[in-house]
C-alpha cells in the first residue's frame, strides 16, 4: 500500500461515489419492489373487491327475481289460470304468421339482391335458398314460393306441390285462389281459408302472401306464402289485473304462463311466441324453450340467459321458470322474463381501480354477454377463451393474457344461478409497468446529479484533508477536542498511555496506523456493527428474510472485513494492494449480492444476466487474494 498522503481526494471521491451508487441501487430495488408488490397487491385486492361487490349485486338481483317467481309459484291466481282450458285463438295465429311472413320475405329479398345473377333454375338447385324459401311456421305450417303472375309453385315443402298451378283451385278453394290473385295485383294479401291435406282431409288455415320486390335474372317475379294451421295456436282467454300490476310494479319485461303441454298460453304483454308451443321445432332454438325443457326435466326453478328471442328481438333477455303445483299435481309453469339492462348497469358502473379496468360477463359457453369498455367485440357472438375464464371456479387473482393478448391482472367470480363468469381485468403494463418506468426515469434523473454532487463533495473534502495533511495540521488532534479523544484513542491504539502526551495536541491520525493498531476485539465489534446494521437495512426493504442465505452472506462479509483489515497489519510490501483489492471486491460483492438475492427469492426472479457483475466481482476477489499470497511468498 502506498502512502495515503495526498491521496485523500481520490479516496474520498471513490468512497462517496460508491456510497451514492449503493444508495441508488437500493432506491431502484425498493422502487421496483414497491411497484411490483405493494401497488400490485393493492390493485389486486381492489380488483377482487370490485368483482366480489359486483357479483354480489348481480346475485342480489337474481335472488330478488327468484323471490318473485316463488311468490308467483304459490299464487292462487296463477293456479286458477293454469287450470283453465286452452282455446284456439285466431288473433294469435295472425300475429305469428304475419311476423314470420315479414321475416321470411325480407330474407328472400336480401338473398336475391345479394345474388342478382341467379336464375329460377339455379335458385331451385340451391339448397341454401331452399332453406330460406321453405321454413317451418307454427307447428305444421310452412312457407312456400310461387310465381306472382302465373301462380305456379316453385318452392314447397311437399314435392307434389312443386310446379302446381294455383289457378286450378279457383272452384275448389276460392278463398285461397282469391288471395293469390289479390297478391298478384296488390302485392300482398292475407286471410283464413280451407285447404286439402295429403290424407284427403280439409284443414282450416291462415295465410299471408307477400310479393317479393326483386326479380330473378331471367325475369321471374315471385311471392312468398306463409301459412299455418289455426288449431295449432292456443291461449287462455282470460285477463288478470293482479298479474299485470305485479309485472308493472316489479318492472319485468314480461310474465308468461306455460301450460302443461308447453303452450305459452298467457302473457302480460303480448309478444312474439304467444299462443305457440315451446315443444315446436321452430321454438327449440329459443332460450325460453331451452329453459322450459330443463325445468320440465328437473321440476325446479331455473334461470337461463341471456338469449335473443326468435321473432325479430334484438335485446338479450334472461328468463326464470318455476313449476306450479297444487296438492302435488303439476298444473303448468310460470316464467318471468327480463332484459339485461340492470345487469349491464351493474357491470358497466365505473369504479376507480384503474383507467384500464374492464369488467364483463361471459356465459357458460365462454360467450361474451356484456359489452366491453375498450373493445367493440359483439356480445352473444364473440367467444372469450382466456385463462381468466378457465380459472373462474377458483378463487384469487391471476396474471395472464386477455382476449387481445395483453398482459392483465385478472379476477373472476362465478355466478352460480346463471352459470356466468364475472371477469375483472386491468392492464398490467398500464397500471404497474408504465408508472414503474416513469418512476425509474424520474429517480435516475434525481439520482445522477446527487451521485455526482456526492462525488464532488468527496473530492473537495479529500482535497481539504490533503492540504491539511501537507501542512501538518491533522498530524495532531484538533486542540479544541483533543482532551476528550486522547485517552480513547490511546486505548484504542494499544499505545503507551502513561507516556502519552496529555497537555499537547495528540498523535498523528493515520488511517493505516489506526487499523494496524486496532485490537482484534474492536475489529470484531466494528465488523459486527457493520454487518448487523446491514442486516437491518436489508430488513427494511423485504417482507421476510431467507435466513440461511443472509446469515452466511453476512458472516462472509464479516470475514471479508477481517481479511481487509489484516492488510493494514502486514508490513509494507508491494503485494499488499492485491489483498486490499481482493478483500474489497469480496466485500462489495456481498454488499450488492445479499439484497439482490433477497429480491430474487422474495419479490420476483429476474434475468440471470443481472448476476454477472457480482459474479465477476467475486471471482476477481479470489483471484486477487491468490495473487497476493503467491507474491507475498516470494
Amino acid at each position: 500500500m502506498g502512502k495515503i498522503r495526498r491521496k485523500f481526494k481520490y479516496l474520498f471521491t471513490a468512497g462517496f461515489l460508491i456510497i451514492g451508487i449503493i444508495g441508488g441501487v437500493f432506491l431502484f430495488a425498493y422502487n421496483d419492489y414497491f411497484y411490483n408488490t405493494k401497488i400490485m397487491n393493492e390493485i389486486s385486492s381492489n380488483l377482487i373487491k370490485v368483482t366480489e361487490e359486483k357479483s354480489e349485486k348481480i346475485n342480489d338481483y337474481l335472488e330478488a327475481i327468484e323471490r318473485d317467481i316463488k311468490i308467483l309459484q304459490e299464487s292462487d291466481e296463477i293456479k286458477e289460470f293454469l287450470k283453465e282450458d286452452l282455446v284456439v285463438d285466431e288473433s294469435v295465429i295472425k300475429m305469428d304468421v304475419d311476423e314470420r311472413a315479414r321475416i321470411i320475405s325480407k330474407e328472400i329479398e336480401n338473398y336475391l339482391r345479394a345474388r342478382p345473377e341467379m336464375t329460377l333454375k339455379k335458385l331451385q338447385e340451391s339448397s341454401e335458398f331452399q332453406e330460406i324459401a321453405v321454413q317451418p311456421v307454427g307447428s305444421n305450417g310452412y312457407s312456400f314460393l310461387f310465381d306472382s303472375q302465373s301462380l305456379i309453385n316453385y318452392f314447397h315443402k311437399e314435392p307434389r306441390r312443386i310446379g302446381y298451378d294455383y289457378n286450378t283451385m279457383e272452384k275448389t278453394f276460392p278463398e285461397l285462389w282469391n288471395m293469390f290473385k289479390e297478391t298478384s295485383k296488390k302485392g300482398f294479401s292475407e286471410g283464413f281459408y280451407y285447404r286439402d291435406e295429403p290424407d284427403g282431409s280439409t284443414s282450416y288455415k291462415y295465410g299471408k302472401f307477400v310479393q317479393i320486390p326483386v326479380r330473378t335474372v331471367d325475369g321471374v317475379g315471385m311471392s312468398v306464402g306463409t301459412t299455418a294451421y289455426v288449431d295449432d295456436y292456443k291461449t287462455i282467454q282470460k285477463d288478470s289485473k293482479y298479474l299485470k300490476n305485479f309485472n308493472k310494479k316489479k318492472d319485468y319485461h314480461n310474465l308468461v304462463l306455460i301450460s302443461l303441454e308447453g303452450y305459452e298460453s298467457y302473457m302480460v304483454k303480448i309478444m312474439g311466441g304467444f299462443g305457440t308451443n315451446l315443444n315446436w321445432e321452430i321454438n327449440l332454438k329459443d332460450g325460453l324453450s331451452y329453459n322450459y325443457f330443463r325445468v320440465k326435466e328437473k321440476q325446479n326453478i331455473y334461470f337461463y340467459g341471456p338469449y335473443i328471442g326468435i321473432c325479430g328481438d334484438i335485446n338479450p333477455k334472461i328468463s326464470v321458470i318455476a313449476p306450479v303445483y297444487e296438492s302435488g299435481e303439476l298444473l303448468g309453469y310460470v316464467s318471468l322474463i327480463n332484459e339485461m339492462d340492470e345487469i349491464y348497469e351493474i357491470t358497466e358502473k365505473i369504479t376507480d381501480i384503474s383507467k384500464t379496468e374492464e369488467i364483463y360477463l361471459v356465459n357458460m359457453d365462454g360467450l361474451l354477454i356484456s359489452s366491453l369498455k375498450y373493445s367493440d367485440l359483439d356480445i352473444m357472438v364473440q367467444s372469450i377463451n382466456t385463462e381468466n375464464v378457465e380459472e373462474c371456479s377458483k378463487e384469487g387473482i391471476i396474471i395472464a393474457d386477455n382476449y387481445e393478448g395483453r398482459e392483465i391482472l385478472g379476477s373472476h367470480k362465478y355466478i352460480e344461478k346463471m352459470g356466468w363468469c364475472l371477469l375483472g381485468e386491468v392492464d398490467k403494463n398500464e397500471t404497474i409497468n408504465t408508472p414503474l418506468r416513469e418512476s425509474t426515469r424520474r429517480n435516475l434523473l434525481i439520482l445522477l446529479p446527487i451521485v455526482l454532487i456526492l462525488a464532488l463533495i468527496g473530492f473537495f473534502t479529500g482535497d481539504y484533508f490533503d492540504k491539511r495533511y501537507k501542512e501538518g495540521k491533522v498530524r495532531e488532534f484538533p486542540c479544541g477536542i483533543k482532551r476528550k479523544f486522547q485517552p480513547w484513542y490511546c486505548k484504542l491504539m494499544g499505545g503507551d498511555c502513561v507516556t502519552y502526551p496529555k497537555e499537547k495536541c495528540g498523535r498523528v491520525i493515520k488511517i493505516r496506523n489506526f487499523f494496524a493498531n486496532l485490537k482484534l476485539g474492536y475489529l470484531i465489534t466494528v465488523a459486527l456493527i457493520l454487518a448487523i446494521g446491514y442486516f437491518f437495512l436489508i430488513n427494511l426493504f423485504f417482507d421476510y428474510i431467507i435466513y440461511p442465505l443472509v446469515t452466511f452472506g453476512l458472516l462472509s462479509l464479516i470475514i471479508s472485513f477481517f481479511i481487509f483489515f489484516q492488510g493494514f497489519k502486514l508490513k509494507y510490501s508491494r503485494s499488499k494492494k492485491y489483498l486490499f483489492l481482493g478483500a474489497g471486491a469480496i466485500i462489495l460483492y456481498h454488499l450488492v449480492h445479499i439484497p439482490m438475492e433477497q429480491y430474487f427469492n422474495t419479490v420476483r426472479p429476474f434475468n440471470i444476466l443481472y448476476w454477472t457483475p457480482t459474479i465477476i466481482l467475486y471471482i476477481l476477489g479470489f483471484l486477487f487474494l491468490l495473487i497476493f499470497l503467491r507474491r507475498s511468498l516470494k
Binding site: 442465505l549 452466511f552 470475514i559 481479511i563 444476466l609 483471484l623 487474494l625 503467491r630
Partner: protein, 84 residues
C-alpha cells in the same frame, strides 16, 4: 445469456485451479493454496448448475456455507503468515 455466466465461471475456475495448483507445486505449500483450489472447483460446480438449471434453495445455502468456510480458512492463513 446463461452461456455468458457459464463461460465466466469456467474461465475463472480454470485460472484459479491453474494458479493455485502451480503455486502449490512451486511454493511446496499445499495447505496455503488448497482453499483457492476448492474455490476453483466450486466455481466449476456453479457453472454446471447454471447449465442444468438453478439448484434448490438448500443447495445455495450449502454453497454459501462452503464459501464462508473458505473465507475463514483464508483469514486464518493470512493471520498465520503475518504472525499474529
Amino acid at each position: 445469456m446463461i452461456i455468458l455466466n457459464i463461460i465466466i465461471y469456467l474461465v475463472a475456475s480454470i485460472i484459479i485451479i491453474w494458479g493455485s495448483t502451480t503455486a502449490m507445486i512451486e511454493k511446496k505449500k499445499i495447505g496455503l493454496f488448497l482453499p483457492f483450489f476448492t474455490v476453483g472447483i466450486l466455481f466449476c460446480f456453479n457453472s454446471a448448475f447454471i447449465f442444468y438449471g438453478l439448484p434448490p434453495e438448500y443447495f445455495f445455502a450449502a454453497s454459501k456455507f462452503l464459501f464462508l468456510l473458505i473465507l475463514f480458512w483464508i483469514l486464518i492463513i493470512m493471520r498465520r503468515e503475518n504472525g499474529n
